[in-house]
């Protein structure tokens, strides 16, 4: 099945107008010995067959809505998505449009992004937001790019807390491998129990940016105000990688005087989708707007005096600056930024606080019940949001395998990334987990460990 709307008769008329005998004759510039390879691919399916094939593939997964009860988070969270979100995304006017380069006929996309930018600044307490990056990890890497460009490469040290998501730290290292800078602060010797001020002695005049996570990878909520003050005293920038749901309740990084706030927008109405696509939000101070990568929408007026929106400060971007650009990014997660805006508009301040509060309450109930099990203990004493680490008396892999037999995803094995946290399980609880599910989890874990 193809989607080509040209009849054989029309094709022949078109070939005649072009002045060639056949479709194949259009390709004479292609080296003959490589022309028209036989592709070893399965034969074409009809829509009916394809639908059933994809059904079969999807059904061979176990998903967290129908098959499994999940306490797995570690950067992606199972939240409720109101129906209205996907109904808006399914409008062809949104999803089949391109980047809004022609503003006269793209005001839907442009106003949508402008509102998204506004919502992100409201959430983070920052002054400006771009139109988004690929995901939280790449947004964090772009924060490093911003800082490096801000100091024109003169500050060459990037400090990243060991309690930043391990995959985010990997991505920062991938992105910066060609740059003349070092990434440190997260070595195997880092004290994971310590407060964020532990990074303080490492900050110096050569430090471009300090990256911390909020709540951190272990779910802990720290006030970074002091750390940020210290960094600023040394002239360094601070980037806070934030979970957006937590920002419904907790002090904003903007109020802590952060310079850049980025994060993974998936909890804002996006499915987990086996890891993507998701949404990297990126907000900063107005002072850094020219150094920020990515698209930006600004308000203006059209020739008829109507309020309207355009892509602005585009001279920062790759299609103009080419090899001098800070970043090569030339897309944003347009449709998913729209999804998060629809989500935030729908749940509003009341609903969003409700979601965050449910996460907090249920996670704390789960933590209290789990730590009643003999041999199980909360790993850290600090306040946490909807995720927490517990130590187990048995290897996590073994425990998780047993829990899975009962349809439970027990959580993330921290020993994979932190040797000092061998036999530690990272548990996430959201509004999707009922008390019954939590009780079942506790009961099964007790059984597995006995």
């Amino acid at each position: 099945m193809t989607y080509i709307p040209i009849s054989p008769k029309e094709r022949d008329a078109m070939l005649e107008k072009v002045g060639v005998q056949s479709l194949d004759a259009l390709f004479e510039a292609v080296p003959a010995k490589h022309r028209f390879p036989k592709l070893n691919l399965p034969a074409a399916l009809t829509e009916m067959e394809a639908a059933s094939l994809l059904d079969e593939i999807a059904l061979s997964n176990e998903n967290v809505r129908a098959d499994l009860v999940s306490f797995l988070g570690a950067g992606m969270y199972h939240h409720y998505i109101p129906s209205v979100v996907d109904h808006v995304l399914r409008r062809g006017e949104f999803y089949t449009a391109y980047t809004p380069y022609q503003p006269e006929i793209s005001q839907g996309t442009l106003q949508g992004i402008f509102e998204y930018q506004s919502l992100m600044t409201a959430l983070t307490g920052m002054e400006v937001s771009n139109a988004s990056h690929y995901d939280g990890a790449t947004a964090a890497a772009e924060a490093v790019n911003l800082a490096f460009a801000n100091f024109r490469g003169k500050r060459r040290k990037v400090l990243v807390s060991a309690s930043v998501h391990p995959q985010y730290r990997e991505v920062i290292r991938t992105y910066t491998q060609g740059m003349d800078l070092t990434v440190s602060g997260d070595g195997a010797d880092a004290d994971l129990q310590a407060s964020p001020e532990a990074l303080t002695p490492l900050i110096d005049q050569d430090t471009a940016v300090v990256l911390v996570q909020y709540p951190d990878f272990f779910g802990r909520v720290f006030d970074y105000t002091k750390l940020i003050e210290t960094a600023h005293a040394q002239g360094a920038l601070v980037c806070v990688i934030a979970n957006p749901t937590a920002l419904a309740l907790f002090k904003t990084p903007g109020a802590m005087d952060a310079d850049i706030v980025v994060g993974e927008g998936q909890p804002l109405g996006l499915p987990m989708w086996f890891g993507g696509p998701s949404l990297g939000f990126f907000t900063t101070r107005k002072a850094y707007v020219h150094k920020m990568a990515g698209r930006l929408v600004g308000e203006t007026v059209d020739s008829r005096g109507q309020r309207a929106y355009v892509l602005t400060l585009t001279a920062r971007e790759q299609h103009i600056k080419r090899e001098k650009a800070t970043s090569n990014i030339c897309s944003n997660q347009g449709l998913l930024a729209l999804a998060s805006a629809v989500y935030l508009s729908t749940v509003g301040q009341t609903g969003f606080k409700q979601v965050a509060n449910l996460c907090y309450q249920k996670a704390h109930y789960a933590a209290a019940e789990l730590s009643k099990i003999e041999g199980v203990g909360l790993c850290f004493g600090q306040p946490f949001f909807h995720e927490f680490a517990v130590c187990l008396p048995k290897p996590v892999a073994e425990v998780n395998a047993r829990l899975l037999e009962h349809g439970i995803l027990g959580g993330y094995d921290l020993g994979q990334d932190y040797p000092s946290l061998k036999d530690h399980l990272l548990v996430a609880v959201t509004e999707m987990n009922t008390k019954d599910e939590i009780d079942l989890f506790v009961e099964l874990l007790r059984e597995v460990l006995s």
Binding site: H290, L313, A315, I320, K321, K324
Partner: protein, 125 residues
């Protein structure tokens, strides 16, 4: 036709240099090519030693971006701090809108007004 004061020297890359004061800016021709300037940033500091041709600033308009180079070698002795907050002045008064002041160069090997005008004309074709 663009305005090209004869008291100044010009670089082929469109910077002007005032041998009397050491001030540096971009020419009327350059500002017109860039069109509406919306951002400028000086990328050197007072006290820096610069080489002729080395970058001293960048300028962005609605549609284009451009680097500004030092037309002479020497030491940066002053920076026009006000320009960044009102970069549209570069469009309005390119020869009042100096970027930096450089000490140590005379611009002897730069183009004079007539030579620069010819250079601009050649590029128009």
């Amino acid at each position: 036709m663009s305005n090209t004061p004869s008291s100044l020297k010009y670089a082929k890359s469109d910077e002007w240099f005032d041998p009397a004061t050491g001030k540096v800016g971009i020419s009327d021709y350059a500002q017109a090519q860039l069109s509406d300037i919306v951002f400028m940033e000086i990328t050197v500091s007072v006290g820096d030693q610069v080489e002729a041709g080395g970058q001293i600033a960048s300028v962005e308009s609605v549609k284009a971006a451009s680097e500004v180079s030092a037309p002479v070698s020497g030491k940066i002795v002053a920076i026009n701090e006000d320009l960044a907050s009102g970069p549209e002045a570069i469009n309005g008064e390119p020869y009042q809108s100096w970027f930096v002041q450089i000490e140590g160069g005379d611009g002897a090997d730069m183009l004079d007004a007539a030579g620069y005008e010819k250079h601009c004309e050649e590029r128009a074709h």
